[in-house]
């Protein structure tokens, strides 16, 4: 049984505005998240271990020091790479696409909101973002964990059936069917987030 002393969930926040970065960082920390902030989409991809033009990580060594990211929250309007562009890059990457993504925008434009949700964003926050919005984040992270555990179970079952083995498979075994991205190093439970398509529009 994995009894994890859970490290806090790690959120990557992306916003080109300095005061907004400060605010979102505080909002997240107050809500018990570990936070990294960056000021652009390209820096976000860099942090996530991805170059703009690739969809596979810079290094795939499984023993490399990785920084697990459980959720990405990004501003929509940014110079260069917009939040939407960043979302697309994340969803196009087999390495990153399972991480829940939240978009923030000060403009309430339904077509923009729908476009983001259709592209795979899990949530859309109108700015200014409030403390009460933070409670919407954890469910997306947990959903992706539950689904991943279910998938792992399925995979382990089919593995043990095919191998005719009664040995319990290590939880940390990497599988070819699930992404290797963002394994949390410090805890017992493996977290492999999976894309959750929003049920609402």
């Amino acid at each position: 049984m994995a009894v994890a002393i859970e490290a806090p969930f790690h959120v990557l926040a992306v916003d080109d505005s300095l005061p907004d970065r400060k605010l979102i960082e505080r909002l997240l920390k107050t809500s018990s998240f570990q936070v990294t902030t960056v000021d652009s989409g390209s820096k976000a991809l860099e942090f996530l271990g991805l170059h703009d033009h690739e969809d596979s990580p810079i290094s795939t060594q499984s023993d490399q020091q990785e920084v697990a990211v459980n959720l990405i929250i990004t501003d929509y309007c940014m110079p260069g790479m917009t939040g939407y562009d960043l979302l697309k890059k994340i969803k196009e990457s087999s390495y990153l696409r399972d991480i829940p993504v939240v978009i923030m925008s000060s403009d309430n434009i339904p077509s923009r909101i729908n476009r983001c949700l259709e592209e795979g964003a899990d949530e859309f926050f109108l700015k200014p973002v409030r403390l009460s919005d933070m409670s919407k984040l954890k469910p997306h992270i947990l959903k992706s964990r539950c689904k991943e555990h279910y998938q792992q179970e399925q995979h382990l079952q089919s593995n043990s059936e095919s191998n005719n083995s009664s040995n319990p498979t290590s939880e940390n075994s990497s599988s070819s069917t699930s992404t290797n991205s963002h394994k949390r190093k410090a805890v017992d439970e493996e977290i492999l987030p999976h894309t959750i398509r929003p049920r609402h529009s």
């Binding site: 505005s17 907004d20 505080r26 920390k29 309007c77 700015k127």
Partner: protein, 156 residues
């Protein structure tokens, strides 16, 4: 309101915010309260830090706009894009009067109204200066009241 009531109101955290709102009615809205709510022992100077960043950021954005108004005549798209950023910043700290002037500017952009843009921009600048003055004196008062200044926090 009697003096006793005023004094008892300012000794509570809640009243500090209410007093703040009363003084800054119109200048700062509910969002500023939200920012104040984020300040605690872990982040005891949070409000002032955010406000400082706001003025740094808005100063830069306003000078971009000023330059753009001169360098790119009738480039309403560019002007509007810059002003959208400034408006967003105002919105984040609850600077409502300044935000409204930003919105007027954007309306003028939408109408292709150069005169309107110029007038609105002057108002944006004025609101910016007034807000800076008010917040600077607000923080000064807080500092004078001292860290344990709940009981001696000045009436605003």
């Amino acid at each position: 309101m009697s003096l006793e009531r005023i004094v008892s109101r300012v000794t509570s955290n809640q009243s500090r915010k209410l007093a703040g709102i009363a003084k800054y009615r119109g200048y700062l809205d509910e969002q500023f309260c939200q920012v104040e709510d984020l300040q605690d022992e872990a982040s005891p100077n949070f409000v002032e830090e955010v406000v400082t960043l706001f003025f740094k950021d808005s100063g830069r954005l306003m000078s971009n706009i000023e330059q753009a108004l001169e360098k790119y005549p009738r480039d309403f798209n560019r002007w509007d894009t810059y002003m959208q950023q400034l408006k967003g910043s105002c919105s984040s700290i609850g600077a409502s009067r300044m935000k409204n002037e930003c919105m007027s500017f954007r309306d003028s952009c939408g109408q292709g109204n150069v005169e309107g843009c110029m007038r609105s921009f002057q108002k944006v600048k004025r609101e910016h200066a007034v807000l800076r003055q008010k917040l600077e004196s607000y923080f000064q008062l807080l500092r004078q009241a001292g860290p344990a200044g709940a009981a001696t926090r000045p009436v605003m």
